[in-house]
């Protein structure tokens, strides 16, 4: 395949950026999207130009580090995959591909396609935990049976990889899907009950401080989420928030 890439280039957080066009040839369908980017970068380096900076690490869809906005979609045209799991067979010969960073006021661009998602860490620090010491003096794991249905739902919520696709996709740059996934995981488990009220209040408060927008229930986040985190979690978080406030 021969393709035309239009990529967001930005020297650093302070400089203005712009789209730059790069032609690329001999791309095979079996390549992953990031392997295509590797090839582009090697070509740029050999020409003495600066390679495109982008975040990536595990390249198997679980670390949540890769974050590209491809042809107007977070993680590109395929469903339930991260950018690193997107394969070139999803594109056609001769196509032009637009590649941008995850855009949101709360995710400032650091360089080219890299953004700062530390706001997510700060939301988790506000209450995304159960206050138990790691001393090893806890009770036996099986002394607390948990209905399978609850454990499975908690697991579904817990599979969030914190990539930020939900925020990048949302027209309001809302982080509700991300925050609600963590709130839900603990809300569904008996271990999480003791601090449930404080947790949801503190996490939502931090979410607002970080400047994420409100949820208007368009559901775009659920469509683009590489892990299929359900909108039900947002409903559950709203209930938890109501409970905590009254």
């Amino acid at each position: 395949m021969n393709l035309t890439l239009k990529i967001w280039r930005q020297k650093d957080a302070k400089s203005p950026g712009k789209m730059v066009t790069y032609p690329i040839s001999n791309i095979e369908g079996h390549m992953s999207f990031l392997e295509m980017m590797d090839i582009l970068n090697d070509e740029l380096i050999e020409k003495g130009e600066e390679p495109v900076a982008f975040d990536h690490d595990c390249r198997e869809g679980i670390c949540g580090m890769c974050s590209m906005y491809i042809n107007g979609e977070a993680h590109g045209p395929d469903r339930k995959v991260t950018t690193c799991q997107l394969h070139m067979r999803m594109f056609k010969d001769g196509e032009t591909i637009h590649i941008e960073p995850f855009r949101a006021n709360s995710f400032p661009v650091l360089k080219d396609l890299m953004v700062d998602r530390s706001a997510f860490d700060r939301i988790q620090q506000a209450g995304g935990y159960i206050s138990v010491n790691t001393s090893g003096n806890t009770q036996d794991a099986n002394s607390l049976p948990i209905p399978k249905a609850d454990a499975d739902l908690a697991m579904d919520a817990a599979t969030c990889i914190g990539c930020g696709a939900c925020v990048a996709t949302c027209k309001n740059s809302s982080a509700m899907l991300f925050v609600s996934a963590k709130v839900s995981q603990y809300a569904l488990l008996p271990q999480g009950q003791v601090e449930a009220n404080d947790r949801v209040l503190n996490m939502v408060n931090q979410m607002d401080i970080e400047g994420f927008g409100n949820c208007t229930n368009t559901g775009a986040c659920e469509v683009e989420c590489p892990k299929g985190i359900s909108l039900d979690n947002i409903a559950r978080m709203n209930r938890e928030l109501m409970k905590a406030k009254v």
Partner: protein, 671 residues
């Protein structure tokens, strides 16, 4: 030659850890506030250690190169975590877990460390459940288990195919609680580039801020290396792209002995490579071997027809297939340990039976399992005359419930439906058993410098069993290091803050600066990956799944040559004081180019086959075990600990003799 002191406590195996804990010195809570600890890496080992040390009251500074501690590569572990809970009532015990781990490691690990690991394993599960880790449960609400290779009990706890993710998020949540309290200072997007020693003790690090490019000095009373393994020395591996040996290697160059570098695990079930552009390999969990059968065609004609696309694997009848693991190892079949399964795949592919274009792939087939489950389900549902299609559909549902996410991942990558056609798999580098040498306290040969998790060498010998890496990472971080480090730090309560404006820090920072500038100004023409890929090819071909003296000597010479070429011809665009991904990679590859040589040197010295290390010169000549690996206990029951002496080839070998008082050394037989 100096002898290494493992500092294993006296007394019976079962009492060592308890007695040790009763006798060590403690630091009182008020004094803990005066003590700083640096932790490098935030995977299961580093994350759990940071959280626990901070809870105890120490001031922790944690560093990771990713943009968040939650992204460390422990997150990618799929299958599960072992613990001797005996919830299934199948006869499991601490001793049995200890025994399986030592045997699985081919008798090259340290008894006392492994026993301690088994002893604290149960606590890990209690701890994780208390933290809200959503392990899989059965309909009674209790925890579920599954079985892994090389053992005869069900002791593996799991959270779908994402156990590593859930355990890491548990440790991350414990860290977050301490970050919020101000007890952990978290340094994301930072990379340790040197360790600083003062009066022989580890007292700090030089780290590069990967956003601004600035070099920073950080001091502490102890430094913990939890930076993972060095599998990326092969370029292609199941490690993350950024996984590297730099922190461990810099520590080695400052005096920490590097132990058993040649013990590397090549995992049998990974998706085969498809071309030269490939950047990494993807693991398919070992749990698949519970139900998948591994085979290649019996006849060469069929192999050729399949490669040319004239035949499909599903066209071959049962007697045209060679289920070589079941044929060679009837007792364990498809569930032999990883090293055995990998070598058997290589043996078939080397003989020409590989089933893809590169000749490096075998089949992992779920047809029998789908049929078996389907028939069982039909029986449960009282469907006596179920059609073949109905049986397939019923069976497929069960397989999907068990392995759905892995099948989906396979289909996304390979573009083939593994329910309909067998998966293609081939071994790939996955884990490194070798690492920094540590004593019973997990301290390296540099005083005050500890190594935990995959970064150390101590628990897995020459081969790690499945679901034991997660266990070791969390055991070291939650339950072992927090005790052992306290014993050391009790001597530092009067030391006070370590200043960073000293000669030692100046010197370390200057040397890091010089190296970075050298990399930027080499003026070469080739990208870093060019050298990394070349190194990978040398390592895979000559220091890979099977090794011989001639090949190893060639590898050493070739790596030396490649290293010289790298320092002349690498091109790193951009500057030092900015985001520079190529510069980060260049520094890591420079270290791999040194480690690779020591790795080959170690493999050359160890003239026996054991675990993942297979020397072609050391095989059983005859008898039932003919052609299998031959261990040499008389001459090689020791840990190789290498001391840096200027260049990798001049490294000096120190031996820690391994004593087995509780286990009889036997040949591993899975026949």
């Amino acid at each position: 030659m100096s002898t290494l002191d493992s500092k294993v406590p006296e007394g019976p195996l079962k009492d060592k850890w308890t007695t040790y804990k009763d006798k060590i010195d403690l630091v009182n809570p008020a004094n803990k506030r005066k003590i700083d600890v640096i932790v490098i890496g935030t995977g299961l080992a580093g994350g759990s250690a940071s959280a626990t040390l901070a809870e105890q009251g120490y001031n922790v500074k944690a560093f990771c190169y990713q943009d968040s501690p939650r992204r460390a590569h422990s997150i990618a572990a799929q299958g599960g975590i072992n613990a001797a809970k005996n919830y299934q009532g199948d006869g499991d015990s601490n001793y049995r877990l200890f025994y399986d781990t030592v045997k699985g490691g081919d008798y090259r690990s340290r008894e006392a460390n492994v026993y301690r690991l088994a002893e604290v394993s149960g606590n890990i599960i209690d701890q994780c459940v208390a933290q809200g880790v959503p392990f899989a449960r059965d309909y009674g609400g209790l925890l579920d288990n599954r079985s892994f290779g090389g053992v005869l009990v069900s002791r593996t706890f799991y959270a779908k195919g994402q156990t590593g993710q859930q355990l890491l998020l548990g440790a991350y949540s414990a860290m977050n609680r301490q970050i919020a309290r101000g007890k952990i200072e978290m340094y994301n997007r930072h990379e340790m580039l040197d360790i600083v020693k003062i009066d022989g003790k580890a007292r700090g690090i030089i780290a590069r801020n990967l956003i601004t490019g600035e070099l920073e000095r950080h001091s502490a009373h102890a430094v913990v290396i939890a930076s993972g393994g060095y599998g990326n020395v092969y370029f292609l591996s199941t490690n993350a792209m950024g996984s590297n040996v730099t922190a461990a290697w810099k520590t080695h160059k400052k005096g920490a002995y590097f132990a058993n570098p040649c013990f590397t695990q090549i995992h049998p079930t990974c998706i085969p490579r498809s071309g030269d552009y490939q950047s990494k390999l993807t693991l398919m969990s070992e749990s698949l071997r519970n139900d998948g059968r591994i085979w290649v065609p019996k006849n060469m004609d069929d192999v050729m027809a399949i490669r040319e696309g004239k035949k499909k694997p599903t066209d071959l009848s049962e007697d045209e297939r060679d289920y070589y693991l079941e044929r060679r190892y009837p007792a364990f079949g498809n569930l032999v340990p990883r090293d055995v399964a990998s070598r058997a795949a290589k043996e078939r592919c080397d003989a020409g039976y590989g089933v893809n274009k590169t000749g490096e792939a075998v089949y992992l087939d779920f047809k029998s399992a789908i049929e078996r489950y389907g028939k069982e389900q039909a029986k449960i549902h009282n469907e006596e005359n179920a059609s073949a299609q109905r049986i397939y559909d019923l069976g497929k549902d069960i397989v999907e419930a068990k392995y759905g996410n892995l099948f989906q991942m396979y289909e996304k990558i390979v573009d083939e439906n593994p329910y309909k056609t067998p998966m293609m798999i081939y071994p790939a580098t996955h884990y490194t058993m070798g690492g920094l040498w540590v004593d019973y306290n997990l301290m390296t040969t540099v005083e005050g410098c500890y190594a935990i998790g995959e970064a150390n060498f101590s628990d897995h010998g020459a081969n790690r069993l499945g679901a034991s890496a997660l266990m070791q990472g969390l055991a070291d971080g939650y339950f072992v290091l927090p005790y052992t480090i306290g014993d050391y730090l009790s001597n530092d309560i009067r030391t006070g803050k370590i200043p960073t404006d000293t000669d030692e820090f100046n010197e370390a920072e200057n040397s890091v600066k010089t190296t970075l500038e050298k990399l930027i100004n080499t003026g070469g023409t080739k990208a870093v990956d060019y050298f990394h890929k070349k190194l990978g090819v040398i390592m895979w071909n000559k220091v890979g799944m099977s090794r011989n003296a001639t090949g190893l000597k060639e590898a050493i010479a070739e790596i030396q040559e490649l290293r010289a070429d790298f320092w002349k011809n690498v091109r790193v665009p951009g500057g030092v004081n900015e985001v520079n991904r190529e510069l980060e990679k260049a520094g890591r590859v420079a270290d791999f180019l040194e480690l690779g040589e020591l790795f080959a040197q170690d493999a050359l010295t160890r003239e026996e086959s054991c675990g993942g290390h297979f020397r072609e010169e050391s095989v059983e000549i005859d008898g039932e075990q003919q052609g299998e690996a031959k261990r040499d206990d008389e001459n090689f029951t020791f840990v190789s600990a290498w001391e840096y002496k200027g260049t990798p080839s001049e490294a000096q070998l120190h031996k820690e003799e391994l004593k087995y008082e509780n286990i009889e050394l036997k040949q591993r037989s899975y026949k």
